[in-house]
Every structure is written in C-alpha cells, then in structure tokens.
C-alpha cells in the first residue's frame, strides 16, 4: 500500500470536532449537551436570502463565472463601499467560503518555506491551510491577562526574518473576540510597509462589533493598497455557513489575476449559495441590529457568568461571538472530556473547545477553552451554572485521585 503524504500526516485533525464521539456518548446516556464548542449560530438566515433560493427558476444549474456572478460582485462591492472599503467588483473573486479565499491567497503569495506571522491564539484552520501551501506559521504570542491585545511593533520585528512574507490577522478575532482599532491597524500598516509584506485580514466577523465600536478594515489603510488581502465570508454575517460563499478581495491587480487562475482551475463557486448571498445583501439593517443586540446579551451572560466563577478569567470580547477563558484546571482537554463522559447538572453538560488547538505550540492554551456564544440566553445561563458546579466537582475528583495516587 503506497504511503500517505507528509502534508497528509501533518494536517491537524479538527480540535473542535474531535470531542464529538464523547458528546454522542453523553447524549446516549440522556444528558443534554450545550454546544459552546462550535461557531454554528442558531440565528435564522435572512428571509430574503432563503426566499431567493426557494424562488429560483433555474432549469440548468450552470457554472458561474470563475470569479462569481458579476451581479453579485457588483452588489458586494456596494456593500463594501458602505463599510468604507474602497473596492469595485473587479477587485473581488467570489470563493467557496472564506477558507478557499485564504487558500488562494496563501498559494498565490507564498513559496514553500516562506513564513507568515499570526498573533496567537488563532483560528485552527490557519495551520491547516499553511500546511497545504507548504508555508511556515510563526506565532506571535498574545496574553489572556492583556485581553489578547495586539503586541507592539517590536514584538513583530523580533520575528521577522528574510523568509517573512506576510502577516495574518483575524479582526474581530476568532477565538478571542479581540477587536483591533485604528491604532493597532496602523501599527500593522507600518510593519507591512517597512518590510513589504502581505497583510491578510480575515474580517468575516465584521458585522459583530459591540459596545458601539466601528469595525475598521485593513482595506482602509493608506499606503499598503498593494499589500492587503481581505478574506471574507457570508457564513457568519448572514448565518449561512452552509452556503459556502466567501470572497477574496484585493486592489493588487497582479495578485487578483493570479488568484483568478486558482479560481479558474476549480471552475466556479456554488450557484445556489451565490443566489442566497446576493439576495442577502438586501437584508435590512434591522437584521444586523437584532442579531447584534442578541449576541451582545449572550456575551454578557456568558462572560460575566464565567468571570463570576472563582478562578476563571475571561476577557470581555469586543467582537465576533467567541471568548477564551482560562480555567482553574490543569488540562482543558481532559476537563472537556470529563464534562462529557462523567458530569451532568440538572440533566445538562457543556461542550467546549480546548484552546490548545488554537495555538501553534499548545502549552500556553493548556488551561484555556474557547466558547462560542451561539445559544439562546437560557441555555447560556444553564451552561454557566453547569461550569460553576463542574469546576467544584472536578477539583474534588482530581484531589481525590491525587490523594489515591499519593497513598
């Protein structure tokens, strides 16, 4: 039997999904699992988008243009312009999710062995796409004690080598919910300009900024127009993760033409997803207002609840719908398994994503978990209650086990 490739061996298994069998076992023993582990929102997709798909009158489900339907690209450009992102439809390639946009970008910009700096903790799949493109992720540590704030320019400078070709940010951030403002973005601009790097900005959570903050796009920065790649997606914006529609956006014409060759190779993005996404542009502003207000409430319930538990530290996220919490435990993965295998409180338990998977080197995340506040408020209250009880029980169980070992 021929052997699997090195890339295949290196590819990480999803840290978010590897606890799934334990959750299934929990359900089998009659426990309701509160899923804080994945970013699958329960928010309805905009009615106008669902209607458009239901009312489609296609007789042949044809390929679209490799860059996506022009009408959708024009609509999307208008949406960006409303958000102060100065692009036209000719700066946009519609992709199969944000994932594909990122992969096109990495393949088009980086040679194998080139380095990309990513503030960590970061979205796990950045690692997976870097492995596919054969590039090296250089993590830049941020700390939970500082609310995962962007480190100063000097911290970047220390990591820059002749192989450094770019920086990747997620703003607002998955998994931390951190939001970079004008100051952080200008720090990034200066580094990018000084070292002539690509700046990849994953802004799929753009619409989810709280407490009155306005999202600032990396595309708004002056002087690095040729360096910035915007990675976007409708998945979270319109709660349409399954539409698999994203966008690769850049004003760098040579880069866009290169990315288009990758897009041509895979022929076209999904037709039905494009129909839904183009229609979703018509979703009223009130759709986002309602969704945002709901997420803000959920965030407050979850994060305030977590911080009220002794020994738990959870910085208040300013955007997206995740938070990272440090727990008074030794090993978050063991704790997450224990929650599913052995614990219940009033018939419930909690499923979370161990945060180690969001670090290039797992150590700093060992006591941390990522939680997505994508459940109804009552469920989030129950989740906090579960965790509070669980941590008490777990401390006793662990102490007992250690006592037994000591004897």
């Amino acid at each position: 039997m021929p052997s699997i490739s090195q890339k295949g061996q290196m590819m990480p298994a999803s840290p978010i999904r590897k606890l799934v069998p334990y959750a299934e076992a929990a359900r089998k023993r009659g426990v309701e699992v509160l899923h804080l582990n994945i970013g699958q929102p329960d928010i309805h997709s905009p009615e106008v988008a669902l209607e458009a798909v239901r009312n489609n009158d296609l007789r042949v489900v044809e390929y679209s243009h490799s860059a996506g339907n022009e009408s959708y690209r024009k609509g999307l450009a208008a949406y960006y312009q409303q958000h102060k992102i100065p692009v036209t439809h000719e700066d946009i390639i519609i992709t199969t999710g944000g994932s594909e946009a990122l992969l096109f970008g990495l393949m088009a910009c980086f040679n194998p062995g080139d380095e990309i700096i990513i503030p960590e903790p970061f979205y796990t799949n950045y690692n997976a796409f870097a492995i596919q493109a054969g590039i090296t992720v250089v993590p830049l540590s941020t700390s939970i004690a500082q609310g995962f704030a962007l480190p100063p320019a000097e911290a970047f400078e220390k990591l820059i080598t002749p192989r450094t070709k770019g920086i990747l940010i997620c703003n607002p951030g998955n998994p931390t919910g951190v939001l970079y403002g004008r100051e952080e973005l200008e720090t990034l601009r200066d580094i990018v300009k000084k070292h002539d790097l690509f700046l990849f900005a994953d802004e799929v959570y753009r619409e989810f900024c709280y407490d009155g903050a306005r999202h600032i796009s990396a595309m708004e920065l002056d002087g690095i127009e040729q360096n910035v790649v915007l990675v976007d997606s409708v998945s979270k914006r319109y709660s349409m993760c399954g539409a698999r529609i994203g966008a690769f956006v850049t004003r760098n014409k040579e880069l866009l033409a290169t990315a288009l060759k990758f897009a041509q190779a895979r022929l076209s993005p999904p037709t039905f997803g494009q129909i839904a996404s183009e229609a979703a542009l018509q979703a009223p502003r009130s759709y986002f207002e309602e969704v945002n207000s709901e997420y803000r409430e959920r965030r407050n319930i979850l994060v305030e609840g977590l911080n009220s538990i002794p020994g738990v530290l959870c910085p208040m996220p300013k955007g997206a719908f995740y938070c990272v919490a440090e727990l008074p435990i030794d090993d978050a993965e063991k704790f997450c398994v224990w929650l599913l295998e052995e614990f219940q409180h009033k018939g419930h338990t909690v499923m979370m994503a161990p945060a180690a998977g969001f670090y290039a080197h797992p150590a700093p995340g060992k006591k941390q978990v990522r939680l997505a506040y994508v459940l109804e408020q009552d469920k989030l209250r129950m989740a906090v209650e579960c965790l509070r009880e669980a941590l008490v029980h777990y401390a006793r169980t662990t102490a007992k086990a250690q006592g037994a070992e000591a004897n």
Copy 2:
C-alpha cells in the same frame, strides 16, 4: 510590492476561457458564436433535484458534516453499488466538485516532487492541481491516429522512476472521449500493483457511454483496493455544474481519514448543492436514457460531419461529450482566434478550445482542437457547416498572406 509566488506564476490560465474576449467581440459585431469550447451542457438538470432546492425549508443554512450529509452519502453509496462499485457511505467524502476531490487526493498522497503519470491529452486543470500540490506531471503520449487508445504497459514502464507515486486516468475521457474497457483497466491494475502506486480514476462522465458500452470503474478491479481513488462529480451527470458537488471515494481507510482532515479544514461542502444532489439520485433511469440518446445523436452529427471535411481527422468518441479533431492548419489557437475575429458564415461562427492546453508540452496538440457537443443538433450541423467553410477560407487567407510575405 511583495512578489507573487512561484506557484502563482506557474498556474496556467484557462485555455478554455482565454478566447472569451474574442468571443465577446464577435458577439458585438452581431455574429452568433456557437460554443463548442466548454463542457457546460444545455441539458436540463433533473426536475426532482430542482424541486428539492425550491422546496427546502431551512431556516438556518448550517454547516453540514465535513464529509457531507450522511443521508446523501448513504444514497450515493447505493448508487455506486448499482454500478458495481462496492463501497459504503463510510468510503465517501462529499466534496466541492470533483476539483476538490482531486486536490484532496493529490495533497494526501503526494509529496512535493513526486511524479504522477497521466495519459495525454488530458483535462487541463490536472496541471493546475498538480502545481498546487507541488507534484510533477509526467505525460504519457497517446495518438490521434490510434484513437487516443491507452498505450501498452511497456510505455508506462519507461516513465516509471523512484519518484513515481501514481497514475491518473479520466474514463471516459475529457478531452478525447476515449473509453477504457476491461483490458485497459487490467493493464493499469497490473502496473499499479507491481509498483505500488495510487490509481486516481476521474469517472465523472460514467453515465455517458455510447454504442452499448458498459462503464467499468477502477473501483471494480481486484487486488488494488487500497490504491484506487475515485474522483466523482454530479456536474455532468445531472447537468448541475453549478451545484459544486463531487465525491472523494476510496476503500483505503488511512487515506480516507487523511482526506477528511483536508475536508475538515474547509468545514463542509455546499448545503444547497447537497440537497440537489441527494434528490437527483431519484432521477428516473429514463433521464439518463434520454440524455444519452441525445448526446449520441449530437456526437454522430459532429464527428461524422468533421470527418467529412477534407483534411480533418476526428476519432469517434465512445464516452463523455467531447472529441479532439486534427485540422488541416498550422496553429489551432491562431485559427480559433481568426474564427472569432474575422470569420462568419450565415451570421455564425464557432468557438473551440485549442488542444495544446490539454498537453503537458503543447507541440503534439498544435493542430488540434477540442469540441464539446453540448449544443442542440441544429446548432451542431451549423457548426460543422461553418468549419467546412472556414477551413476553405482560412487556407486561402493563409496562402495569400504567405504569398504576400514571399514577395
């Protein structure tokens, strides 16, 4: 401005799409362009598939399982079993088109620098995916005079090196329409077994076999169960190119688990496309019978027509809906541009794909074109008439130009 990657520079621009601006110009001067250049069928998608999408009652367009919806995988396994392909749903990952299945497979099996042997001419994008995976395509020449038949084992043996890791076939073949039967497949099996290679079989045109031939899948071959990867797609089968639904199929559990990690990184295949594809499994047998009978007629009109033109050679395809023809000209690309820029016959002209793009080294394809018989019969008759006239005019034009040069 930072530089584009080597891969980005190497990626081929689509040879099928690069004539598009000339076609647009032709339309602007009022000429109807008969599109024989792309494999976008005009056949209606199955009504049952379109209905399923129109009647969907989703409120949230969620991610599916990374391997695709289980109900669809089970239905697809049953479809394969009907076609004597012995697999279960656990051998299948639903992908975003056949393109993604192929890319997952190449990334999971090949290290950069490994070699894959592909009989040529071959589907252009095989080159593109090989570049993305960093692997080397080793073309195995086939000849139009022999109807692009699979060469004997010795021809493969001559190309095998310590870096050879696999063979890729397209059966029935794009661009040639060649169909490999039991004998050819057993030749392949013996080579694969002897050298312990992967055998990638792109069988997306399975349902399009003519003149009573039964399609034989590489998955039916005994003794190489761990070596075979089936690349599949609903695009052509159900005329649903825009659904972007394919499949990666193998009985090699380690390979499937590896491919699943690539699938998890991109989260899930498109939800609406899966709804359409699962429903399409219910398309009556008569759907294929009607489609096949239509394609057979079209093939006969086009290929018999082409062979009736002096100097044109076009082997009769046994499957798919393409043929490759050699024309009495020097440079097919120039001729194709001339057809769009300068020629018309009764208000029509023809757009074809120069075949050089289907060869690893363009020379053998220089006088050849690929034609897709995806148009109505009357249009195909007109296309043949156009080509007959065009070749007469072109010969005169060329002779005159050469005469002028000689003076």
